[in-house]
C-alpha cells in the first residue's frame, strides 16, 4: 500500500509520519563507486537497530550501465523486495523511468545537475547540488565522481533524521576505520547535510527512529557466509573458474583461508586454484576428493553445464565433491547479474545416464554458513557430488543474520579405511554394500597397505572395482546406488515446516523466495491461512509427503519459468501430484510479497 493510500486510510491531508517502514532506491551508473555510499546508508540504518536489507540490481558490464540499489527498512522485520517510495536519482539515463515508478506521495532526491526532470505534483523533490558540495574537497580529480556519491548520503541522512555520528561510524566500518579515507568522505557528507538543513524544508512523512532489532546481529553476503562455512568445514582444495555471481564466493574464500587456516608452523592447510575453465575445475575437485581432500568448486549455470560429464562420473565412481551453484538467470548467458532458481531440475539429475544428486538450498546467511561445512560432511559421508544451490540475491547482497553457530557435530569423513583397518579386515571391496545403507568403503591413495589399492573407473565395474560388462554386476551396482540415495533422504537437512492447524492450503518453496512468501502469508493470515514447508534439500524425506498429504492444495512457489521443483515433486509423489500446483515466475528480480499474495489469491479463486 503506497503512501497516498495510507493517508487516505488515515483520513489525513497532511502526511502522518511513516517510521521505519519504507523502501529507498539509489539509481546510479555502474562504475561510479556508489556501492560505498549505499553500504554506508545500509550500515547506518543497521546501526540504528532497524531491520534492514539491501539489494543491488547491477548490470553485466564494468562501467556506465544503470545500477539500482534498493534498501528496505521494516520495523516488522520484512526484508523482501518492495517498490520504493524514496528515489535517489543520480543516473540521467534512467531518471525519467525511475521517477515514473515512484508511488504518489513518494520522494525524489536528485542530482541538481540533472536537466529537465519531469515534474510530478504528487511527490516531494529534494535537489543535491553535487558540484558545489564537492568543490574544493581535496581528492585527486579522478576520484571526484566517486566522492560525489557521498553528497546524497548527507541529504538522505538529513531527510530521514539520521545523526552524522551514526553515518560516520558506518563509514568507518566501510574503510576499516582508516582516518584519512573516512575523513575525505565524511567531509562531503557533512557539507551535504549542513546544506540540506539550511536550504531544504522537510515535507515528506518518512523518518527513521532507533530500535533495538539488530542487536548482536551480523551483516554479510551469502557468498561470504558460505565461504566461511567451508573454511570451518575444512575445505582443503578449492578449484574454480571465475563467473558471476560465484566469483565473490571464491574471493571470500581466498580472503578468509589465509586468516583462519594456517597450521601450527604457518603452513597453509588449503590450496585454491584458478582453473582454465569449469571442466578443469570439476576435474581438480574430483581428483582431490578421490585423494582425500575436502574439495569444492563454486560456479553458476554455464559452469554447471560444463561440469555435467564430471558430475556423472563422480556419481558413478562415488567421489566426494561439493559444487556451489550461485544461480543467475539462464538459459545460456542469460542475465549474468540477475537472480534466479533456474538450475534446480538440471542440477538434480545432472549428467547423462541415470544420475541423481543431493542438493542443499540455503535461504539465509546462517544457512549458507551451515551448509558451507555440512555439504563437505555430506559429500564424504555419501561419497558423491553434493550441490549447494544459492542464488545471486543471497550470494551477492548483504543480509542480517544471527552470529553463526559453530558446527554442532564433529567433522564427518565418511567410510575411509586406513592400513590398520585393512589389516584387520584382510582387505576390502570398494563397491560392496557392507552396511546395507548403499554406502561402500574406500581407501585413500598413499595408504601403506598392499591391499589398499583399487582402480577407479567410469566404466562398468563389480564390487571389487574390477572392469565388468556383466549385466548382473551393472544391475546390482545401480540398485546399490539407488539405495544410497534413499539413505541420503534422511541425511540431508530436513525441511523447515510451519504447520497452520486449520490451513487447507500448503505452500512449498526453497531458498530466498521465503521472504516474500513469509510476508505474503502474514498479509493473508485472516483471508487465506496457509502452512509453509521450506525445502532445505533434495531428495525429499517423508515429512514432505506428509505435508502434501495434509493439505488439499499445495502451491510450489519458485523463481524460474518452468516450475522446476514442482515438476520434481509431482514426479516423486505421483499419488499426490494432482494437488500440487505451480506458481513460478522469473524476470530476474526477487519476488515481492504483493506478487505472491496476488498469485495465490488468483490460484485459489480458480481452484
Amino acid at each position: 500500500m503506497n503512501v497516498l493510500e495510507r493517508q487516505q486510510e488515515a483520513g489525513l491531508a497532511t502526511p502522518t509520519p511513516i517510521i521505519n517502514d519504507f523502501s529507498l532506491v539509489v539509481a546510479t551508473a555502474n562504475g561510479t563507486g556508489s556501492q560505498t555510499a549505499n553500504l554506508t546508508l545500509l550500515r547506518s540504518f543497521f546501526k540504528l537497530g532497524i531491520p534492514v536489507h539491501g539489494k543491488n540490481i547491477f548490470p553485466s558490464n564494468i562501467q556506465g550501465l544503470p545500477t539500482w540499489y534498493h534498501i528496505r527498512v521494516s520495523h516488522e522485520g520484512y526484508i523482501a523486495r518492495k517498490p520504493s517510495e524514496i528515489l535517489v536519482a543520480f543516473n540521467p539515463a534512467t531518471a525519467h523511468e525511475d521517477l515514473q515508478e515512484l508511488p504518489s506521495g513518494g520522494v525524489c532526491i536528485y542530482n541538481a545537475d540533472l536537466k529537465n526532470l519531469p515534474q510530478r505534483n504528487d511527490i516531494t523533490y529534494y535537489p543535491v547540488p553535487v558540484g558545489e558540495l564537492i568543490a574544493g574537497i581535496d581528492v585527486p580529480v579522478k576520484r571526484k565522481p566517486y566522492i560525489a556519491n557521498m553528497a546524497y548520503v548527507g541529504v538522505v541522512a538529513w531527510m530521514l533524521g539520521v545523526s552524522l555520528e551514526v553515518v560516520e561510524e558506518a563509514l568507518g566500518a566501510q574503510f576499516d576505520y582508516r582516518p584519512k579515507l573516512v575523513e575525505s568522505n565524511m567531509q562531503v557528507v557533512r557539507r551535504a547535510h549542513t546544506w540540506a538543513t539550511e536550504n531544504l524544508h522537510k515535507q515528506d512523512p518518512f523518518r527513521l527512529e532507533p530500535m533495538n532489532q539488530t542487536e548482536g546481529l551480523v551483516i554479510m553476503t551469502g557468498n561470504e557466509a558460505g565461504a566461511l562455512g567451508a573454511v570451518f568445514g575444512g575445505v582443503s582444495v578449492a578449484a574454480w573458474y571465475p563467473i558471476t555471481p560465484s566469483t565473490s564466493f571464491m574471493d571470500a574464500l581466498r580472503e578468509f583461508l589465509p586468516k583462519l587456516r594456517k597450521d601450527e608452523n604457518g603452513h597453509p592447510t588449503y590450496t585454491v586454484i584458478q582453473a582454465e575453465d569449469e571442466l578443469a575445475a570439476a576435474g581438480i575437485v574430483m581428483g582431490a576428493g578421490w585423494a582425500g581432500a575436502r574439495a569444492l568448486t563454486a560456479t553458476s549455470g554455464p559452469g554447471i553445464s560444463l561440469m555435467a560429464e564430471f558430475v556423472s562420473y563422480g556419481y558413478f565412481t562415488e567421489i566426494p565433491a561439493v559444487i556451489w551453484d550461485i544461480q543467475r538467470v539462464g538459459p545460456s548467458t542469460g542475465l549474468p547479474t540477475r537472480t534466479s532458481q533456474g538450475d534446480v531440475a538440471f542440477a538434480y539429475t545432472l549428467g547423462h545416464g541415470d544420475t541423481k544428486h543431493p542438493i542443499l538450498f540455503p535461504s539465509s546467511i546462517e544457512e549458507c554458513f551451515e551448509f558451507g561445512w555440512k555439504s563437505l560432511d555430506l559429500a564424504e559421508q555419501l561419497q558423491t557430488p553434493v550441490f549447494v544451490l544459492s542464488d545471486l540475491d543471497l550470494g551477492m547482497n548483504n543480509w542480517m543474520g544471527q552470529p553463526f553457530e559453530y558446527p554442532n557435530q564433529p567433522m564427518q569423513r565418511g567410510k575411509v579405511l586406513n592400513a590398520e583397518e585393512l589389516e584387520a579386515l584382510g582387505g576390502f571391496a570398494r563397491y560392496k554394500d557392507v552396511d546395507g545403507d548403499g554406502i561402500p568403503y574406500r581407501t585413500l591413495p598413499g595408504t601403506p597397505h598392499p591391499l589398499a589399492a583399487y582402480f577407479t573407473r567410469g566404466s562398468g565395474h563389480n564390487e571389487q572395482a574390477q572392469y565388468s560388462e556383466r549385466a548382473d554386476d551393472w544391475a546390482r551396482n545401480m540398485a546399490r546406488l539407488a539405495r544410497k540415495f534413499e539413505t541420503a533422504r534422511n541425511l540431508v537437512p530436513a525441511p523447515a515446516i510451519d504447520h497452520h492447524p486449520s490451513a487447507k492450503v500448503g505452500l512449498i518453496a526453497y531458498g530466498t523466495t521465503r521472504y516474500a512468501i513469509e510476508e505474503a502469508r502474514d498479509r493473508l493470515a485472516s483471508q487465506l491461512p496457509t502452512s509453509f514447508l521450506r525445502l532445505r534439500a533434495l531428495p525429499i524425506n517423508q515429512q514432505v509427503r506428509d505435508f502434501v498429504a495434509a493439505h488439499e492444495r499445495v502451491y510450489v512457489i519458485e523463481l524460474n519459468h518452468d516450475g522446476q521443483m514442482c515438476g520434481i515433486l509431482r514426479a516423486e509423489m505421483p499419488d499426490y501430484a494432482a494437488r500440487i500446483h505451480s506458481i513460478a515466475y522469473l524476470d530476474g528480480l526477487p519476488l515481492t510479497a504483493r506478487w505472491v499474495q496476488e498469485r495465490l489469491l488468483q490460484a485459489e479463486a480458480n481452484a
Binding site: 548482536g216 551480523v218 551483516i219 554479510m220 566461511l228 568445514g233 575444512g234 582443503s236 582444495v237 578449484a239 586468516k259 583462519l260 587456516r261 597450521d263 597453509p268 592447510t269 588449503y270 590450496t271 586454484i273 582453473a275 582454465e276 575453465d277 571442466l279 578443469a280 575445475a281 576435474g283 581438480i284 575437485v285 574430483m286 581428483g287 582431490a288 576428493g289 578421490w290 585423494a291 582425500g292 581432500a293 575436502r294 574439495a295 560429464e309 564430471f310 552470529p403 553463526f404 559453530y406 564433529p410 567433522m411 581407501t443 585413500l444 591413495p445 598413499g446 601403506p448 597397505h449 598392499p450 589398499a452 589399492a453 583399487y454 582402480f455 577407479t456 567410469g458 566404466s459 572392469y467
Partner: protein, 347 residues
C-alpha cells in the same frame, strides 16, 4: 609384504617385492599393441627403482592407451578419468597429496584432440608427474579415426586421407613451459626405461611422447604388406573387425645419433633418429629448431629433447607441506573462538 613371497627363490628388490608384484591385471589390448610394451617397461623400472606401490598413483583419460594403467602396478591406486581430462584430475589428486608419485598415461587423441586445453595448462602449472602419451596417430578404441598427431597426407584404410598438419606434442609442451620433454619409440625398450626413470625424478611435469603403433588401425592402405591383401576392396573385411594376431615390435636400442627406419606391422616404415651425444637439451630454441627440422624431414627424433629443472612445481608454488589429505580435523577446523572473533568485524 614378504608374506607375498614366502622364503622363496623369487628375486626381490630393496622393498621386498618381486617383479610380479608390480604387474597389473592381464591386458585386454590387442596382441602386439605398442601400449603393452610400454606397460611392461613401467613394471620393469618400478621394480628396478624399488618403488613403493602405495606411493604411486596411476592416472589416465579414455582410450586404449588410457586403459593400460589397469595392466601395470596392480598394488597402486588407479584413476581412469574422462576423455581428455586426466590433467585436471591429476592436478587435484597431487594437490591433495603432493608426496605421491604420479604416472599418467594418455593417448594422442586424449591429449592432442579433446585434451589439448588441459594438457597445455597442466604443463603451464608444472604439476609434478610423468605424463606419457602413447602416440599412434589414431583413435584406437573408436576404430581408427585420425587423431591430431597423424601425419599430413597419411592414407589409412578406415580413416581415409588426412588433410591436416600433425600436432607436435613435444613442441606444444616446450612452449607451454614443460621442463622435461622426451620422445621415444615403444619398441626401444631400453630408451623407454631410461627416459621413464629420468622422468620420475623430474621436479615438475615430465612429458614422454612415445610412438606406439596401433596394430589394428594404423595400417596404410597402399602398403603392400598391410593386412588382408591390402586393397581398398578388402575394407569390408576390416570393418567387420578382424584383428590378426601380431607380435609387439621390439628393436635393438638406438645408439646416440643413430638413424634407423623401422617396419611396422603393416609393413609401413617410420624413421627414428636418436639425438646426438653432444645435443644440448637445455637450450629451448635449439629444441624447437630440432623438432621443426625433424618435422620437415619426416623423422622422429628420440631422446630427451628439452630439459629445464628451474621452474618450481605447482605444489612448491602453493607452498604445500603436510599432504592436505593427511590433515587432522583439528587442523582443518578452526576453533569456536576463532569464529566468534572473526564475526566481530561483520557486526
Amino acid at each position: 609384504m614378504e608374506n607375498l613371497n614366502p622364503a622363496s627363490t623369487i628375486k626381490l628388490n630393496a622393498v621386498g617385492l618381486s617383479k610380479k608384484d608390480y604387474d597389473g591385471s592381464p591386458s585386454t589390448l590387442c596382441k602386439g599393441c605398442g601400449h603393452n610394451s610400454i606397460a611392461s617397461q613401467i613394471v620393469q623400472i618400478a621394480f628396478e627403482l624399488n618403488l613403493q606401490p602405495h606411493q604411486i598413483i596411476k592416472l589416465s583419460g579414455i582410450g586404449c592407451s588410457s586403459k593400460s594403467p589397469a595392466y601395470f602396478l596392480g598394488m597402486s591406486h588407479g584413476f581412469n578419468a574422462l576423455h581428455g581430462r586426466m590433467p585436471s584430475v591429476a592436478t587435484g589428486a597431487l594437490l591433495a597429496n603432493h608426496t605421491l608419485k604420479a604416472i599418467g598415461v594418455s593417448g594422442d587423441g586424449d591429449t592432442g584432440s579433446i585434451g589439448m586445453g588441459q594438457f597445455k595448462h597442466l604443463m603451464r602449472r608444472n604439476v609434478r608427474m610423468v605424463y606419457i602419451v602413447e602416440n599412434n596417430g589414431v583413435y584406437g578404441l573408436t576404430k581408427g579415426q585420425f587423431s591430431a598427431t597423424a601425419e599430413e597426407g597419411l592414407e589409412l584404410k578406415y580413416a581415409g586421407h588426412n588433410e591436416f598438419p600433425p600436432v607436435d606434442l613435444c613442441m606444444e609442451a616446450i612452449i607451454a613451459g614443460c621442463g622435461f620433454v622426451a620422445r621415444s619409440f615403444a619398441g626401444d625398450a631400453k630408451q623407454v626405461r631410461e627416459l621413464l626413470k629420468a622422468a620420475l625424478s623430474h621436479r615438475g611435469t615430465a612429458l614422454l611422447d612415445i610412438i606406439s603403433p596401433c596394430v589394428a588401425f594404423n595400417n596404410e592402405d597402399d602398403s603392400p604388406k598391410s593386412y588382408g591383401y591390402g586393397t581398398k576392396h578388402e575394407q569390408p573385411l576390416h570393418e567387420l573387425g578382424f584383428i590378426p594376431y601380431a607380435e609387439e615390435i621390439a628393436i635393438e636400442p638406438l645408439q646416440p645419433g643413430e638413424f634407423r627406419t623401422v617396419r611396422l606391422h603393416d609393413g609401413s616404415l617410420i624413421s627414428l633418429r636418436n639425438l646426438d651425444h653432444d645435443y644440448d637439451p637445455t637450450n629451448k630454441l635449439a629444441a624447437l629448431e630440432r623438432l621443426q627440422r625433424a618435422q620437415e624431414t619426416g623423422e622422429f627424433i628420440t631422446g630427451l629433447i628439452y630439459y629445464n629443472p628451474e621452474r618450481p612445481s605447482l605444489a612448491e608454488v602453493e607452498e604445500l607441506n603436510t599432504p592436505l589429505s593427511r590433515l587432522s580435523t583439528e587442523q582443518l577446523r578452526p576453533s569456536q573462538a576463532a569464529l566468534q572473533q572473526f564475526l566481530q568485524s561483520y557486526r
